[in-house]
């Protein structure tokens, strides 16, 4: 297998490209996804290659174009609407939650709704409170949707290809900080990655660190730092929230006896709550200390860098939480 290094954005672009070529019913729509190639360059060149009928520049009408996409999905297309900043998904909630997610169920199975909502997440770019949010927990709370939160170019490409072949609505979250900054190996050969299979990004025996999307990277860096202290951390990336690979998480904690959950969504009533609850339940007899939850601080995301970085998990904060777990264990 030949492998190159691609950025996260290039991996996304390649998945879109391959699937546009494969499936004539697939089409992309969103703001400046066409001629401009997407504000994050994820659709670069696709307009030229597939034409304006398959890579469509929409007006600034998130509710409208997402609604249109739902109807197109119900009638045989596979639309891929792009929500430029995940923050704007608030404008399209009704279409995603009340229409796309429910149509199959409400019709007793008469329709399929193959639609892949691509949305961004992630702070750390001094973009302010309305351009930095991570709302993946909301959608994981909605039956009928699948939610994907990839952390590497490899995973992004393989999971997006799976999403683009799914007969169901998928909300696919891409951390915008990774687009240009995260590079990684991606094979030339075609591959897909199934939903619902967590990936062990690093094996370890003393503690389990669960992280997703961009948070996998500071978590791996923290594991590196911990290794120097002689602490062996296992890093697990669930990769999809719905379906969730509970088994892999629980097994790891049964082995290590402790866990820290790291997520860039808000901590309260967020992803860290679900994962902590799942682990606390499934590994109840094996936990030596409470599961630590390290989400984003529960404040609107501030613009000023010293404030903003305070709110986001990083290596240092992860290491601190690990120490807390290990101290708890020693009690």
């Amino acid at each position: 297998m030949s492998t190159r290094e691609l950025t996260f954005a290039q991996a996304i672009r390649e998945a879109l490209d391959e699937e546009l070529a494969r499936d004539p019913n697939l089409f992309i729509l969103g703001e400046d996804v066409g001629a401009w190639g997407g504000v994050f360059r994820c659709t670069e060149g696709l307009y030229e290659k597939y034409g304006p009928d398959r890579v469509i520049d929409t007006p600034l009408s998130e509710e409208g174009f997402v609604g249109l996409a739902v109807g197109a999905a119900m009638t045989g297309m596979h639309p891929v609407p792009e929500i430029m900043f995940g923050d704007f998904i608030t404008l399209a909630m009704d279409q995603i939650v009340n229409q796309a997610a429910k149509m199959r169920y409400m019709t007793g199975g008469q329709v399929k709704v193959p639609i892949t909502f691509r949305a961004t997440m992630g702070a750390g770019r001094s973009s302010g409170a309305q351009h930095s949010q991570s709302w993946h927990a909301w959608f994981a709370h909605v039956p009928g949707l699948k939610v994907v939160v990839p952390s590497t170019p490899y995973d992004a490409k393989g999971l997006l290809k799976t999403a683009l072949r799914e007969p169901n609505p998928v909300v696919f979250f891409e951390d915008k900080v990774m687009y240009a900054k995260i590079k990684g190996p991606v094979p030339e050969e075609e591959y897909t990655i199934p939903f619902g299979k967590a990936d062990i990004k690093r094996e370890g025996s003393d503690i389990t660190l669960v992280a997703l999307s961009r948070m996998v990277h500071p978590t791996l860096a923290a594991a590196e730092m911990l290794a120097k202290e002689g602490i062996s951390a296992e890093v697990i990336d669930p990769r999809t929230l719905t379906p969730l690979d509970e088994e892999t998480l629980i097994q790891s904690v049964c082995k290590t006896g402790g866990a820290v959950i790291v997520d860039e969504g808000y901590n309260r009533f967020g992803v860290t709550a679900e994962l902590a609850a799942v682990i606390a339940y499934g590994a109840f007899d094996y936990l030596d200390a409470p599961v630590e939850r390290l989400g984003a601080m529960d404040v609107p995301i501030p613009f000023s860098p010293p404030l903003e970085f305070t709110t986001i998990p990083d290596e240092q904060k992860i290491v601190e939480r690990v120490h807390k777990v290990l101290e708890g264990r020693r009690r």
Partner: protein, 329 residues
């Protein structure tokens, strides 16, 4: 702004007229029967009836091909019957039975028959509009001249999604017909209190599509206007908007008598313009049907609905194991 011709009534053949009449009768009878079913406690929840409005769904849908699609509303039974939906699985659905169109999972507000191009009633006011735009998008891509119809009410027109999709539909010349069924009221408020401006045709025209207002209790007028819009759409000339003035006899739902916010006079006035009675007159005058034919059709429809109720009542509820089916494909 291009104008549509002002509803020159098209020539309609005998069979089509009879089928129109038949569907109007079915639609009326369905509503009356559901009301009865509700009062007897044979259905769960509430129902939203549209008796009095039959000329709109039937007039519009009879102008459509089988492969054309519609999206409907919370007040959607007539649209479904208009497009050829069968009253038996509809009634079973209203009762929450496994033999219902949606296996009892959808319910009264969510009946769909996707094979017939009925993409579903919708409980979100305006919720069908985006879906209809999407179906029009697909239709344009298919290139087979198929069109998409969005039914919605005088209340729904004030949802932003109408405006957002209208803009795209005009830009992209989608074969989409917006049908606003103005039954004068939202739930309990007259539309004039909630609708500013120069009327809905003006709104449509400002967005770049032609619009027409018709007497929504005149099935042939509705049919003729729809045909013109449909043909325009099939020719690839884009969307248009039909506004039909009509009235619901009953309340917002079966639990509302509909008499608190509307006067007796207003209701009586509209009943005097009853779309079925009016159409009957036309049919007899034109020699399409005799009074005897009409009576026979009435009684057939009644029998059919009685049987649908019976069948629905005898049908099983879905098995509890079905609850987790159809969440995902």
């Amino acid at each position: 702004m291009e104008r549509l011709s002002q509803i020159a009534e098209v020539v309609v053949d005998r069979d089509t007229m009879i089928e129109m009449y038949h569907r109007m009768l079915l639609a009326r009878a369905f509503e009356e029967t559901v009301f009865d079913v509700y009062r007897r406690g044979w259905m769960p929840g509430l129902a939203h009836l549209a008796d009095g409005q039959e000329a709109v769904p039937v007039g519009v849908c009879m102008a459509l091909r089988p492969d054309d699609t519609i999206t409907s509303t919370h007040r959607g039974h007539g649209h479904i019957i208009g497009k050829g939906g069968q009253v038996e699985p509809m009634m079973a659905e209203v009762m929450g039975k496994a033999t219902g169109y949606c296996r009892g999972k959808g319910g009264e507000m969510h009946i769909a028959d996707v094979k017939l191009g009925i993409l579903g009633a919708n409980g979100i006011v305006g919720g069908g509009i985006g879906i209809a735009a999407g179906s029009a998008f697909t239709a344009k891509r298919e290139g087979k001249g198929r069109v998409s119809v969005a039914f919605f009410g005088d209340g729904a027109i004030n949802q932003g999604i109408w405006y957002e999709t209208a803009n795209m539909a005009v830009l992209w010349k989608l074969p989409l017909i917006y049908v606003c069924e103005n039954n004068q009221y939202t739930e309990y408020t007259n539309y004039r209190k909630l609708q500013a401006g120069e009327g809905l045709v003006a709104r449509a025209e400002a967005m770049g599509m032609p619009g027409l207002e018709v007497d929504g209790n005149d099935v042939l007028a509705v049919y003729s206007a729809t045909l013109e819009m449909v043909e325009r759409a099939r020719r690839g000339e884009g969307p248009s908007m039909l506004v039909c003035h009509t009235f619901r006899y009953g309340g917002h739902h079966v639990g509302d008598p509909g008499t608190k916010y509307r006067t007796k006079e207003e209701i009586e006035e509209w009943k005097a313009k009853d779309p079925i009675v009016r159409f009957e007159k036309v049919l007899v005058e034109r020699g399409v049907l005799s009074p005897g034919d009409i009576e026979e059709m009435h009684s057939k429809v009644e029998k059919r609905l009685a049987a649908a109720v019976e069948a629905g009542r005898n049908a099983p509820y879905p098995d509890v194991s079905e609850v987790t089916e159809h969440v995902y494909a």
